[in-house]
Symmetry: C2
Subunit: 134 residues, 2 copies
DNA sequence: GTGTTTGCAAACATTTTGCAGTCAC
DNA sequence: GTGACTGCAAAATGTTTGCAAACAC
């Protein structure tokens, strides 16, 4: 169980009910796009504004508390920052899963080939989840 | 040397000067975002419209002749479709390079772990290019 | 009490659409 | 000649900003 209030404070974000709800939703659902978040929060705060969602998501990204994941052929989703990982997206039902893959050998390969200093990686695989491939 | 007219016809796209210019630019520059393309084409067609760029890029994506690459913290770029490959982005100068990495073992790993049927992969590394890391 | 956040409305940015005239074939 | 494409203007969509009232601390 998570204490979202403490978590927000650690990231120097003032604790408002809207922010707590955003964190709760992301914690519960893993990955959500702006509209997902807006719809979920509307249920709790009937007069919440989309602008509030945007401002908070941007503030949380700024503090490196949230991360934007860009997904081919789909809207960006947001997730709580954790250790670097890859993503698996089902093109049929939209489900998104985290995936711990060992990317370091790829990064070495890339470094050797092109001599870049690599800071970040984005690995997104798209396909059919077990359910949808039946 | 490439024959863009033939290439467009092979993809069932009518050959217009604007389309030829889009293909020429992408062939010459590798990766371009919408504004890059618009500015380049404006030089050749002073009255070209952004709508024309959008319509053509979308039509070419539809025919699987172009591919959109989503880049963290940056605008999408478009490239001519070729064999699957990864991308290396310089966060300082914006340069984008193609990169042939062996992703198949990662895909196997992902398939084993999560039992998805993977169809596509998007691998984008961000860092500093040799020039900018000096 | 001070400074930040919220929600609203307006502004701004990006992308798509409808349509008349033009072009590809 | 027919259907597709272009460029324009308008519309639709997505995101940000300014501001007064409310809230966090």
């Amino acid at each position: 169980m998570m204490n979202y209030t403490t978590l927000l404070k650690e990231y120097n974000l003032k604790v408002t009910p809207q922010r707590v709800a955003i964190v709760e939703e992301l914690y519960a659902n893993g990955h959500m796009n702006i509209d997902d978040l807006y719809k979920k929060l509307l249920a709790k705060f009937p007069s919440i504004s989309l602008a509030t969602i945007y401002k908070n998501v941007n503030a949380m990204i700024e503090k490196v508390f949230l991360n934007e994941v860009k997904i081919p052929n789909s809207k960006s989703v947001y997730e709580l920052v954790k250790d670097e990982h890859s993503h698996l997206v089902c093109s049929s039902c939209g489900k998104i899963e985290d995936l711990d893959l060992n990317v370091s050998s790829l990064i070495e390969e890339a470094t050797t080939l092109k001599n870049y200093t690599i800071k970040q990686s984005s690995v997104v695989f798209t396909g059919l989840c077990p359910n949808c491939s039946k």
